[in-house]
Amino acid sequence: MSSSLDLAKIRRILATDCGSTTTKAILIQKVGDEYRQTHRGEAPTTVEAPVEDVTHGVRNSIRELEELSGIKMLDDEGQIYKEMSDTTGVDLYVSTSSAGGGLQMIVSGVVKEMTGESAERAALGAGAIVMETLAVNDGMLAHEKIERVRYLRPDMMLLAGGVDGGTVKHVLAITEIVGASNPKPRLGLSYQLPVIYAGNVDAREEVSRILSDKVELDICENLRPSLEKENLDPSRQRIQAQFLEHVMSHAPGYPNLMKLTDVDIMPTPGAVGKIIQTVARLEDIKVVGVDIGGATTDVFSVFKNYETGEDIFNRSVSANLGMSYSFSNVLAEAGLENVMRWVPFDMEETQLRNQVKNKMIRPTSIPHALEDLIFEQAVAREALRLSFEQHKSLAVGLKGVQKQRSIGDIFAQSESGSTLVNMMDCGLVIGSGGVLSHAPLRNQSALMMIDSFYPEGFTKLAVDSIFMMPHLGVLSEVYPEAANQVFEKDCLIFIGTCVAPVGNTNKDSNTVMEVTIEYPDGKREDFAMHYGQLIKKPLGAEETAKVTVKPSREFDMGVGKGKVVVEEVKGGLVGLIFDTRGRPFNMTTNPRERIEKLTEWYRNLEVYPGFEG
């Protein structure tokens, strides 16, 4: 950051996010005493031929902002205009990037489930896509590992393995394989591949001997110094530094973009992770965030690790689950039946398969007919569900930790390495990405999130209005107050609160819960809900209501089966959504019953007005 910058004097902030297809620019201005996002512009990203210079797209998106805001932000040479007046200049320019496929990494550890997973978490948390995790027990023969490294051509590698004072032999066996494969970077042959070593300190010297003349070796602190401890931050920082120094600097036009920005460019998912962590900290809640894109879906979470008492941030990326380029892959991975369970009508398979593939080859086309939209949103539910499953398997406690158990633990023991994701603890689910942020109705976004994340107890639902979390994430690095103000006022759109007890029963006629809502105007409403129901009650975005839930004895709202819970809940564009379809959720396998149920739920929530079933 430029040392002359006086944060208190900042009036205008320009932020861009260079995505694979679109570069999005936002303008943040001081309005009265607070910062607000006032304008947004976008332009196609220009990292590909024939332009091959990211700054063209950036400047085009800024020019759109200039037209919309009437403020001149670029000078005649295309540099950021810093002379401030009522109609010219910005004080601060920040940017994120995921163009060109983002940061692609191979990581390694000694044991896949232990140091291998720690290395994965370090890379993912820094905003990378993990293409492969190598380990002694990864199931590949040594020559297959070599073939894999040579074939994948990552942007960077992270080698971990061995706790300090532990195995050297196995660490070096993997290092030798990496050395033998003589890995080449994706973006060209003119520089050496950055490789970060963050394993057993005792192996550093030998690792240097094997690799230093073959790759750009960077040695940092062990990311798993003992079985009981993960130390991911130093590796994440080195990844981001190497990303700028060696990867970005070879991407088309990035050296020029780096000169334009006032602070370091961040990988887009890294920036989203920053803002999610900030929200969790400031609001003191547990959060799940999702960004469902065209090619990939990122899931972020902050949950408490009850073994250590710490809040743990995790990010996962599902590289081939998305709504345009990866549309067909969602169907391949989830299976046709799982997608069709959300569709309240029958479709012929040959026609359906061709329809999916036609979307794959023309990924920017959009649903025209309502039935087409319903089908796409069914695919979205499965993309989100699968991504969340992957996230849960990655967001786990440390595996391999020796535990001392008391007699009491025998009756309530958790397995070492079980998932940290506990939806009953989750207070907020944030959705972003076209299918959630730009769904024709917010009711649709709400139900897509409920049907894929299965919130439990009381959970607020929100969407990122225009996908500005990346911009605010990078801004939070330099000016957190401004980032928070915009996040609260302009970024999140609250859809409402979902109320869902945990449990199941075998009859639809069984009562699941009795509910009392006390509205802000003093009005009171009492009702009971049976198993398998989904309803909504209006409550405005700025309103709160007191909700009392008395679950039946098979159901739990977070404090024990049958125990009453009272909560002050927040409204939203949809309001309060009461879901007694059971947790874990099981869809009936009878096709006629399924269509009847879906039609009822969609009608109650007014998800697809005009659809008659």
């Binding site: 694979s20 297809t21 990203t45 990292v47 590909e48 024939p50 163009a99 060109g100 496929g101 040594a142 020559h143 070599i146 050297v168 032999k169 070096l172 066996a173 030798e176 394989i177 050395g179 033998a180 494969s181 003589n182 042959l189 030998e206 094997i210 090619a295 081939n320 380029y325 990866s326 067909s328 892959n329 169907l331 391949a332 398979e349 040959t350 026609q351 398969r353 061709n354 329809q355 593939k357 036609n358 794959m360 080859i361 023309r362 990924p363 920017t364 086309s365 959009i366 649903p367 025209h368 007919a369 309502l370 087409d372 939209l373 730009h438 024709p440 109705l441 697809y608 007005p609 005009g610």
Partner: protein, 373 residues
């Protein structure tokens, strides 16, 4: 007049095509700027380092890792031959010997006294890059890449599978609406590239493969058939390494007639040599399958059309609808309203008003149309 920009694929009678032929690793470029090449000219060559073979040598020799270097008869960098003894250990005061036999011919890459592993490397693998299209060399990056330029007819497909192939174009169907079936495939199609019309059927592809046909160009393919051919359900549209007949699909999945312009252009080149590539990558850095037909000197003269990433749609333009309802139907743009329009899905989007052949008019999202002819 109202205009809109939509993506489209090139179908060009005469254009300048440049193709870069790049080596996977630095090596030799065999041509110079100005050279004339044909499709099979080797324009660059190199040697890929041989496959590395790790071997747990200490375990095999029954020695500790630290004893490994002194047990090796060959050192790092030494050449070795298959079945040669490259290490030896002794036990019981030298009474028992354990040899380490090389499984390959090549060199010793490394010997580790810590992991106890040695890495052997097979002999280098020669790689030769052909010109793929006939034309002139216009650029040489010494030891790395060669660019060949030609004046050609160019047809981009929407989807394809299979590798680069060169062959003579043959018309296999009477018109652009005919489904390509086994009865259209003949034994004398060996080594040829077939022009189909509407759907390419699985049975036709199977027979073509049997007859060693090099490629098929057609309007559509069923996804069920694609799954049968590949042996798996294609999730992400990244293709190009599939063995067998190369396929270039020009319109999409399902029964779709090949566009009139594409069929006419291909038909006018029957008997000419074409270079085709099924490689498709629908991601950032999109790659579409292609048919390149280099033109003879006489045909190459005249105006050339530039290859375009997208085209401007104006009132009067012929467009294809690429989503349901009316998928695949060709209509005429009769209006390009500026304001966003509510469509049946409930979304508000920019649309184009399209007049269909039966005279009916529909508002179609601009994202769902592409230039037809």
């Amino acid at each position: 007049m109202s205009q809109a920009y939509v993506p489209s694929l090139d179908v060009l009678e005469r254009t300048v095509v440049r193709r870069e032929r790049r080596l996977p690793l630095k090596g030799d470029t065999n041509v110079k700027v100005g050279d004339s090449v044909d499709q099979s000219t080797i324009v660059a060559s190199t040697e890929l380092p041989g496959k590395p073979i790790p071997l747990s040598a200490a375990v095999k020799l029954n020695v500790s890792p630290t004893e490994l270097p002194e047990s090796m008869l060959k050192k790092e960098g030494d050449t070795i031959t298959q079945d040669e003894t490259i290490g030896m250990s002794y036990s019981f005061f030298g009474l028992f010997k354990t040899p380490l036999i090389s499984p390959i011919t090549g060199t010793i890459d490394s010997i580790s006294g810590i992991s106890g592993q040695i890495i052997l490397r097979e002999a280098p693998i020669p790689v030769e890059v052909e010109a793929y299209i006939s034309g002139n060399v216009v650029e040489v990056e010494d030891g790395e890449a060669v660019t060949v330029e030609t004046t050609a007819a160019l047809i981009q497909g929407i989807f394809g599978i299979g590798q680069e192939k060169v062959g003579e174009l043959v018309l296999a169907v009477p018109d652009r609406s005919t489904v390509l079936k086994p009865e259209h495939i003949k034994p004398d199609h060996q080594g040829k590239i077939l022009i189909g019309g509407n759907l390419i059927t699985h049975e036709a592809i199977k027979l073509a493969d049997e007859y060693k046909v090099k490629g098929i160009i057609g309007g559509g393919i069923n996804d069920r058939d694609l799954k049968e051919i590949l042996g798996y359900d294609l999730g992400v549209a990244i293709t190009g390494n599939e063995p067998g007949v190369t396929l270039v699909v020009t319109e999409g999945f399902g029964n779709i007639d090949m566009s009139e312009k594409t069929f006419r252009l291909l038909s006018s080149h029957v008997g000419d040599l074409a270079s085709i590539n099924g490689a498709t990558q629908i991601r950032a850095g999109v790659i579409r399958p292609e048919v390149i037909i280099p033109l003879s000197k006489e045909k190459a003269e005249g105006n050339v059309s530039p290859a375009a990433e997208g085209k401007i749609i104006e009132v009067g333009a012929k467009v294809r609808i690429i989503r349901n309802p009316n998928f695949g139907v060709i209509g005429e743009v009769v209006g390009l309203p500026h304001e966003q329009t509510l469509i049946p899905s409930g979304a508000k989007v920019r649309v184009a008003t399209i007049k269909l052949p039966d005279g009916s008019k529909y508002d179609i999202p601009r994202a769902n149309i592409e230039i037809a002819d």
